[in-house]
Amino acid sequence: MSNGHIPINEAPSNSVVKVVKLGSERLNDLGIMENSIIKVVVSIPHGPVLVQRDDGAFIVLDTEAASNTLASVLSTQQQGKHRYRWRWGRFHN
């Protein structure tokens, strides 16, 4: 946790982080490697984390994987208000 490295589940939601140490070898197979830059979409302190890979895929890290994965925060974003259109059965942007 030195050098500004924190467990990824302590990074704020909607922040962009650089992975410093992987908490699970499995992450390699999910395209997240050391030095990967990913977006922390939902972060639950001391809990699981939902991250987004650069290609857009969403990856869930359970509490253990998230707590053991160290990252450094590159930037944080204020979550803006979304303008969703509720269209049943469709994905919306």
């Binding site: 699970s24 809990g47 939902l50 290609d55 869930v60």
Partner: protein
């Protein structure tokens, strides 16, 4: 373990040599790519499910014929790569690396080209005829993900079939292509350039005579290939001097190739964002509440709808004059009792289970196929972790409140063996509807004005005991060497109401009948024998109608022997003896109680009400909630957790039930005194 595996492989080999027209194809795919849906749509109705040798991992086998050719498809558990520490995924990797088959069908998700191609490039290196199915093309089109299938097929040297498994698209083409899989080319095996490792890969291939894929896996230290790696240890050491972290190097090279392939053949319009529904479920603040609310609502609706059906079926079975029919044809009283109370009772109990099996199967299949299960598990994982319950396990525990049996059977879909076994050991602590029937009767008899409060007690004690047992069980399941952190890709959120979904429910129900049905009937026949015989030999069927004779049977003796355990908490021997019959089926307890008290249902309420104090009734409710599931549950529990763990768990369950019953009795007595 190895002996069994050897036998299976030998059987497969013999089969393939005996029937020259049988093609064996393995189906591999990333998790949530719709692989099982695809197999289910291709196969027709019947799917054969068996545990992979030496594991509790289920592998589905389906077969179909085209002309004179029979195709045998083995649906492997979903996996992201050929090297994994998770037991289920290791089954897929082992079969792909070491199995004996004619070709591979790789099912990828068109929504996730990177992950799908990552698995495909590894499979191609194995040098087997391969078909790549790009499933979920409809969702990909909707999300504006487009593929240049023709160019990608040419570059990779494989047949690529765009498909929509839930809507029949591409299925006919897949069926006809699979039949010709032996004639297909093997694809480009050296699509990934491993740079500095290439010469070592060639050396291993030449030394061992293995495929490029196996050579790469040996170099990167795949534990499944440890035996082979010993033979080329000097090559591996030499490679390590050049590339210290081979595993990382190989993964990085594969991902680099995948990204280049996606860049060439896939175009995306717009950026992928979380849907509004996802934001609701995954919200750290209110996601927990919403997830639990949704889970309970779906479960409640299903069981509410099912209740009239269960009653209707039960009444229909009651109206069958089986007793008169048997008595008119069978003169022997003992044989007649065997047919009515042994065989027919067994069949009846089995039929009684079916609506619950159907309901729980529907609930679990809906949560699994819609992608809700991962969303529900996400926000509550942190809380469940403290209690020791696996996050996905909660869904199966709640489903178990309908009936423990289908909930246990459905855990086969859980991706982690360790979590699956732990969940299976916890489910029997959840009070099912049958246990609730007895609990409600006791509550109505002793504390009718507090019935609403009393029925909450089973859930509270179940939660406490699950927290205790999860800690104890973790020690016992250490032998499952799988304590790895778990990561996965978030599956898309979809409405799963399609043909394959209904087939899945049917498959679960059929699986229950075929796997557990015969055993349930046999065990109930054995229990009948124990209830009509005792140390003096055969007591006769009158034991089932006469309380004084009943106490001379094996079951009666065990029941009476337990009485000293219950007398201190105010539970008379008639009730403790009746509880032994709960091992057969919980409803049998009510019948036995009526027999002991020599009364019908209305009178039974009065008899229990006048026998038990409020404190002893609460202790009894606690004990009934926990003491044991029925024989049918134990049978399915054993199938997944094994005999040793099931035996330990059943003994533990009885001990916890007794301790908590005493605790509840003394707390309730204390409260009664001070108020």
């Amino acid at each position: 373990m190895f002996k069994n595996e050897f036998k299976l492989r030998l059987k497969m080999r013999t089969m393939s040599t005996q029937h020259h027209d049988t093609i064996k194809v393995v189906i591999a795919g990333i998790p949530n790519s719709g692989k099982s849906t695809l197999v289910s749509r291709i196969s027709g109705v019947f799917v054969r499910t068996a545990n992979y040798p030496g594991t509790t991992v289920s592998v589905d086998e389906v077969s179909y014929s085209v002309g004179k050719t029979r195709v045998l498809m083995v649906d492997l558990p979903g996996t992201y790569s050929l090297r994994t520490s998770m037991t289920d995924e290791a089954v897929a990797s082992k079969e792909l690396l070491l199995g004996d088959y004619d070709g591979i069908v790789v099912v990828g998700s068109a929504l996730n080209p990177e992950q799908s191609l990552y698995l495909l490039v590894q499979v191609l290196e194995l040098g087997k005829p391969t078909i790549f199915v790009l499933n979920m093309m409809d969702l990909a089109r909707r999300r504006r993900v487009h593929y240049n299938v023709e160019a990608m097929s040419k570059t990779l040297g494989v047949t690529i079939i765009p498909a929509v498994a839930v809507g029949d698209e591409g299925l006919r083409e897949l069926k006809t292509t699979v039949v010709k899989i032996r004639e297909l080319k093997t694809g480009i095996t050296n699509i990934v350039n491993y740079g500095k490792l290439e010469k070592h890969i060639s050396t291993i291939m030449n030394t061992l005579g293995v495929s490029r894929g196996i050579a790469v896996e040996i170099l990167s230290g795949n534990p499944l290939l440890r035996v082979l790696s010993i033979k080329v240890s000097h090559v591996i050491e030499e490679a390590r001097r050049e590339v210290p972290n081979i595993d990382y190097y190989v993964t990085a090279a594969r991902w680099s190739t995948v990204k280049s392939l996606v860049g060439k053949f896939v175009t995306r319009e717009g950026k992928l964002t979380l849907s509004k529904y996802d934001e609701l479920f995954l919200n750290p603040k209110y996601g927990v509440l919403l997830s639990l609310l949704l889970l309970f609502t779906i479960a409640e609706v299903i069981f509410m709808v099912l209740e009239p059906l269960v009653n209707l079926m039960s009444n229909a079975l009651d109206s069958i004059p089986i007793g008169n029919f048997v008595s008119s044809y069978v003169g022997n009283e003992l044989l007649s009792s065997f047919l009515i109370n042994g065989v027919w009772n067994g069949v009846r109990i089995l039929i009684d289970f079916i609506p619950y099996v159907f309901g729980v199967s529907f609930l679990i299949a809906f949560l699994e196929d819609s992608g809700l299960i991962t969303r529900i598990a996400f926000p509550i994982e942190r809380w469940l972790r403290r209690t020791g319950i696996p996050s996905r396990g909660l869904v199966y525990l709640i489903a178990g409140s309908g009936c423990n049996i289908p909930a246990i059977m459905a855990t086969r879909a859980m991706p982690s063996t360790r979590d699956r076994v732990l969940t299976v050991l916890m489910i029997p602590y959840i009070p099912c509807t049958a246990r609730f029937a007895i609990i409600a009767l006791i509550a109505a008899a002793v504390m009718p004005h507090l019935i609403g409060v009393v029925v909450v007690i089973p859930y509270v004690v179940a939660f406490i005991s699950i927290s205790i047992v999860s800690r104890i069980s973790r020690v016992h399941v250490r032998f499952i060497n799988e304590n790895t952190p778990y990561t996965y890709e978030l599956p898309p959120l979809v409405v799963p109401l399609h043909k394959a979904f209904t087939k899945k429910i049917w498959h679960y129900t059929h699986d229950f009948i075929s796997r557990a049905g015969v055993l349930i009937i046999v065990f109930i026949m054995m229990t009948w024998l124990l209830s009509v015989s005792g140390p003096r030999g055969l007591v006769g069927p009158e034991a089932l109608a006469n309380p004084s004779v009943l106490t001379e049977t094996w079951l009666g003796i065990v029941g009476k022997a337990l009485a000293p355990l219950f007398n201190p908490i105010g539970i008379p021997w008639q009730i403790s003896a009746s509880l032994v019959y709960g091992y057969i089926f919980k409803e049998v307890v009510l019948g036995t109680l009526a027999l002991f008290y020599g009364t019908e249902k209305g009178g039974l309420l009065y008899a229990i009400g006048s026998t038990l104090t409020p404190a002893s009734s609460l202790a009894l409710i606690t004990f009934i909630t926990l003491y044991s599931p029925c024989i049918a549950t134990l049978i399915v529990e054993r199938k997944i957790a094994g005999l040793r763990l099931t035996a330990i768990n059943t003994i533990l369950q009885f001990i916890i039930a007794l301790i908590l019953a005493y605790a509840v009795f003394y707390i309730a007595s204390f409260i009664q005194v001070i108020t």
